[in-house]
Structures are given as C-alpha cells and as structure tokens.
C-alpha cells in the first residue's frame, strides 16, 4: 500500500543508460531497454494488484484495529457528519443504511439533492445516535458500520456477529481529519480523502495565517451561544474554542476548561462580549437576542453584532465543512481584515470541491 503511494513510474526520458553502450548492439539496446522497462512496469503492476489484495487496515477512535479484505461495499452509517464525509469521498452508492436525522430538519433538503434515494425516502434507517435496531442493521448485511464510540452496547452486539464497526469520537479538527482519512482507506478512496483533507487544511491555514499576528488584546471577545439556551456555551478546550481562535477572535470564557456549560447571566454581563455567535437555531434569531431586556447592556447587542450560523449542513463543525464556519466567524469577528472574502463564493467553491457538480445551484 505504501508502495502505491510512493512509487512513481520512471519516465522514459529520464532513464539513464545502465547498459554499456555498444555500437554493435544498436538494435539490441532499445529492445532490451524496452523489455526491462516493460518488466519493471509489470512487476510494479503486480505489486499494485497484490497490494490491493492486501488488507485495508485502520485504527478507530476506540483504539481498535479494523481490517477489511476489500473496500467496504455495504456501509451502514449512523452518524450524519460521517455520512456527509462519505458523500465527499464519492462512495454514497456503497451506503445501505443511514441514521434517522437524515430525514429530519434542514439537512434533509441537502441530502435529498445529493441522493435520489434519500429524496424518495428509500434508504433504510436502522437506528440513530442512541437507539440501534440490531435486527435491522444485520438485515442490511453490512460489511462496515460507522457509529459513535460511546454506544458500546450496540457496538459489542454488532461485533459479536462479526460485523466490523468503526467507532467515532470527535473532540477537535484533527479528529475530523483522521476520520476522513480512515474512511478513505476503508472505502478504497484514500486519494480522494487526501485531496479533501489537504484542501480543507489549506483553506483553514490561509485564515489562520492572516489572524496569527493579531494580539489577544486586539481580538474581539466572542461569546458562543448554543441553540438550547442563551446561557449554554462552550469554553476553553473545545471545538468551539478552536473555531473562535482560528477565526481571529477570543472566547470570552476561554479561561474555563469546559466543552459545554451553562453560564451565569451575571458572568456574561461581566465578560461583555463584542460579538455573539449563535449556532443554527430553529427557534430564535439574532433579533430575539437583541430584543431581550437582560442582554441590553452587552456591547455585542448594542452594536448589533449578533450573528447566527445560516445552516447546520454548511457549517457542521464535525465535518470538513467547518472551514466554512471558520471563514464565516472570521468575517464577523474582523470584518475589515476579511473584507475580500466573499462568503457566497467561498460556499459554492467549497461545495463544488467537496461534493462535485451535484449541489450546484443550491
């Protein structure tokens, strides 16, 4: 496998003549050279074929080794973010089962465009983040199941039936990259996986470089608001914190280490953020926060710098699309610096690069 990556077919032109040049063998030399060349090519092709016949092996987030004899052809994916990754890899036809939330909410519109089977509600749903119907999964005869690694009981039940399970636990961007690469291996689409991961890393790197020199004091204080409630936020050591920092902001509660906590209203007043970023929220708009009497004295509300992510699908922090979230927040946090960034264009470029022609025009 490694050979497949690192080998290169020697170009004819660059080939050095290792045979002693002999005038009398003017006819033999090119023939011998051609033969050697063909031999090398054949040997390499055989190796390549043999490598294909070698096992596809990854380590999942539980630390377990998963080995497949050939790329997965019947995948049951119970994680929506991982599923969007599979679509990026172009292996959607290998998906035979999905999680329930594909058919609900705003993501359904996107998947319906990406895949006729979802539009016609033909893809079976054997489970979701909490509940997995063992029977339904087994009936689909999967050769790979992708599921959250905390669902230990379901995983144990599936593995005891000999079904390979890839368990996922995402705590940061690096985990998203690893997930994509691993899925690339398991589906035989490593090249494509590299492509999209490298693309994302580059895009994020661009933004990171541009904000690297902004000192902490000059960064706007950002308060992140989850959809469950105004006081639900994420502090230091979380994906949200990475997002804010990468985008050139400063998480107002970054000094507290917590993935998710409920803040005290008085504390929020004390932090007095310059910018409020709301996760995609079906029930509330920035206008509702601006109108809330308890939030009036906060700088972000006074300056109307309260923004909401437009979509779950586009900005999903658990997929490679988080690059769009970074760009969006960067523009909100430092509008002057990122005046040149056209979010609409960025969105379309990203969707094309990740999903291909299918989502044009959304």
């Amino acid at each position: 496998m490694k050979i497949l990556h690192s080998h290169h077919i020697p170009k004819k032109h660059g080939h050095t003549d290792v045979l002693p040049s002999c005038n009398c063998r003017a006819v033999y030399c090119p023939a011998l050279f051609a033969f050697c060349y063909l031999a090398i090519v054949v040997v390499l092709l055989c190796t390549a074929v043999a490598s294909d016949a070698a096992q596809l092996s990854v380590t999942d987030f539980r630390g377990k080794h998963i080995t497949l004899q050939k790329p997965a052809k019947r995948i049951v994916c119970l994680i929506e973010s991982a599923l969007s990754g599979l679509y990026m890899l172009g292996v959607e036809q290998q998906v035979v089962g999905v999680s329930a939330n594909i058919y609900n909410g705003s993501v359904n519109t996107w998947y319906a465009v990406l895949d006729d089977r979802i539009r016609q509600k033909q893809l079976p749903v054997p489970g979701n983040w909490d509940f997995v119907s063992l029977e339904s999964v087994v009936a689909l005869k999967p050769d790979l199941v992708i599921i959250w690694s905390q669902q230990s009981e379901s995983i144990a039940a599936l593995e005891s039936r000999g079904i390979p399970v890839y368990g996922v636990l995402l705590t940061g961007w690096e985990d998203v990259y690893k997930e994509m690469r691993d899925l690339g291996v398991l589906t035989g689409r490593e090249k494509r996986a590299s492509e999209v991961v490298d693309y994302t890393q580059a895009e994020v790197g661009h933004i990171a470089r541009r904000v690297a020199n902004i000192p902490t004091t000059k960064r706007p204080g950002v308060y992140y608001m989850w959809a469950q409630g105004n006081l639900e936020t994420s502090c230091g050591g979380s994906t949200v914190n990475d997002l804010i920092t990468l985008a050139g902001g400063r998480n107002v509660c970054g000094s507290i280490k917590s993935e998710h906590l409920v803040a005290n209203m008085e504390k929020v007043l004390g932090w007095n953020p310059d910018l409020i970023v709301m996760w995609y929220n079906e029930r509330k708009n920035p206008g509702d926060v601006i109108a809330d009497p308890q939030w009036q004295s906060i700088r972000a509300v006074k300056n109307r710098r309260v923004h909401e992510f437009p979509e779950h699908f586009l900005c999903d922090l658990w997929t490679l699309k988080f690059q769009f979230a970074v760009k969006t927040v960067a523009k909100w946090a430092n509008p002057e610096l990122f005046r040149d960034v056209d979010l609409k264009k960025e969105k379309q470029t990203m969707l094309f690069k990740l999903y291909g022609r299918k989502i044009q025009g959304m």
Partner: protein, 337 residues
C-alpha cells in the same frame, strides 16, 4: 385558638430577600456598588454616569431581583401546594407530585424543546394541569374521590407521562437531551421579569384560594364522614383544594423545572414549628418555602461560576436539615385510632 403564628415567621423573608440582593458569583459586582445602586433607586434619583454603577444597577434590577422574586414565588407555591394536598389526602407523605403533574410538565417541556414551534412554559403548564386532571378523572367515581384511588391514579398517569418523556428523549439528539435533563432538575438561571410575570398570576391566584380555604383544611383533615356531618360537602371541598394547588404547582414547575424537597418537606418543617393547625401552617408554608428557596438559590449562585440545577441543592440541604428536625422534635403523627 386561632392565634396567629408568631410574627417572626412572616417577617423572616424581608432581611433574607434584602441580603440576597448582595449575593452573586465571585468576582462580579461589588456589594458597595449594589448598595449605591439600590440607594439611588430608592431615593428615585438618577444614577451618575459611571459604567460600574450602571453594571451594578443592570445586574441588580434585571438579573438578581427577578430571580429572587421567582425563587420566592416558586418556593411558596410548591410549599403551599404541599400543605394543601397533605391536608386533603390526610397523609403527610404526599407532595404536589402525587397527581403526576411534575411528570406531565416535564413531558410538556420536552415536547416544546423538541417540536420547536411550541412555547416552553405554556406547554409545561398545560401538560402539568392535564396530568392532574387525568388523575382526578381516573380516580373519582359515583361515590366521590377516594384518596387511595387518587394516589394510584397519580402514579399511573405520572408513569405514563414519564414513558412519553423517555420516548421524546430517545428521538432527540444528545444536545437537546442534555437540555431536557437540565430542565427536569430545576432551572432558575433563566429567571427574568418575563418569567416572573407569566408565573405571578397563576401562583398568586392559587395561593389566594388556598389561603381562603385554610380553615376548611382542618375540617377536611378529620375525615369524609365528619366533614359531611358538620355540613360541608367533602367532594366539593377537595376540588376547591385540588384545583388551586395544582394551578400554583404547575405554574411553578413550568417556570422553574422540577425542584424536589420543597413541596414535601417544607410543610413538615412548618408543622413542627407552628403546629398542624392549617390556619397557621398554610400561610407560614408559603412564606417559609419561598424563603427557603431564596436561601438555597443564594448558595447556588454564590459558590459556582456556572449554573448547577437548583434541585440538587434543595435536596442536599433540605434533606439533612429535615432529618435533624425529625430527630429533635419528632414528626408527631398519630396512627389511626
């Protein structure tokens, strides 16, 4: 006879409420600023333009004061409800939950959180009342309301709503689930004047009716036959207690989530302090329950940076305190003669 409770119980809330205004999370507003802001407000003078003083006034009047008011209303409603229901059921082991109204309200809140277009508090309030009404209708028959039937019906209806709640939890994603769990453990951190306004009318109306009924509770507590013998219709009296108690308790749960201990234990504490005569225990329960919750919430606000559901504190503090009172003076219940 009918001597009012020692005035001290009625005066108790005032210093507590005043002191509570000065309590907040560490590193926040300085007490001196609070005092100044308060002074200006009382003197009806305008604040000098000073950002720290502005902040103090903001915190005081828009965050702490509504929260303290809400604490008092909710604690009072739960305690008064508990007292009334214990008298009605003739059993000191009941709390406002016997009719399953907490489970109903929890289901209503979870449904609202899941569905999106349903407003949260009204939904919780409605389903709390629905659960209580279903329990009553299930238990009542031609011959009247049997207490045992009512308690059993409450267990069944409460169980059904809990099952429905579990279904809602399964359907939801992990974040919404967390919110639902938070809600069911008591959430006073979202206190605002809007919430105080929405809870004020049902709680004060319910409490007022219970206050008017406070002497009748004594009559009812002696038995159905005795009640009829002295000229009151026990079924009517039970409804006159049940409806306001459920109204107040539902409103309290809708606006603050499920806060344990207050409805069950505060009536006991009050009875140990002032005796079982309901003309005293009912008003004192309201005041005591409200003050208790204000105190517990003060503690919750002061010691943590982030919000911990207040239900945890009421149980961890109320429980041992109750045990101490129990050991010292005994609950003093007679068995059936």
């Amino acid at each position: 006879m009918l001597r009012p409770a020692p005035v001290i119980y009625y005066l108790l809330p005032f210093p507590v409420l005043l002191l509570s205004l000065f309590i907040g999370p560490g590193g926040g507003v300085a007490p001196a600023d609070v005092l100044q802001a308060l002074g200006h407000k009382l003197a009806l003078s305008t604040l000098p333009t000073d950002s720290t003083l502005d902040m103090a006034a903001e915190v005081l009047f828009n965050i702490r004061l509504p929260r303290i008011c809400l604490d008092f209303l909710v604690g009072g409603a739960l305690a008064a409800s508990g007292t009334a229901l214990q008298a009605m059921v003739r059993n000191p082991l009941v709390s406002p939950d016997i009719l399953g109204l907490s489970s109903g309200a929890a289901f209503g809140a979870a449904l609202a959180l899941t569905v999106g277009w349903l407003p949260l508090q009204p939904s919780a309030f409605f389903f709390g009342l629905l659960a209580a009404a279903l329990s009553y209708l299930l238990a009542v028959n031609r011959r009247g309301l049997s207490i045992v039937s009512l308690v059993l019906a409450g267990i069944i209806i409460g169980g059904m709503f809990t099952a429905l709640l579990t279904i809602v939890q399964i359907v939801n994603d992990p974040f919404k689930l967390q919110t639902i769990v938070h809600w069911t453990m008591g959430n006073l951190h979202n206190a605002s004047w809007q919430r105080v306004r929405s809870a004020f009318l049902p709680i004060t109306t319910g409490a007022a009716v219970l206050f008017a009924m406070r002497w009748r509770m004594n009559v009812l507590a002696l038995g159905d036959e005795e009640t009829r013998a002295v000229g009151l219709n026990p079924e009517r009296e039970k409804l006159l207690l049940l409806i306001p108690a459920t109204l107040a308790a539902s409103a309290a749960v809708a606006v603050a989530g499920i806060i344990g201990m207050v409805g069950l234990v505060v009536p006991h504490m009050v009875r140990m302090l002032v005796g079982p005569d309901n003309t005293r225990t009912l008003p004192v329960s309201f005041v005591f329950g409200g003050t208790f919750l204000v105190l517990v919430d003060d503690l919750a606000r002061a010691i943590t940076t982030f919000e911990v559901p207040v239900g945890i504190f009421t149980t961890l503090i109320g429980g041992p305190f109750f045990i101490y009172l129990l050991k010292k003076s005994g609950a003093g219940f007679g068995e059936t003669s």
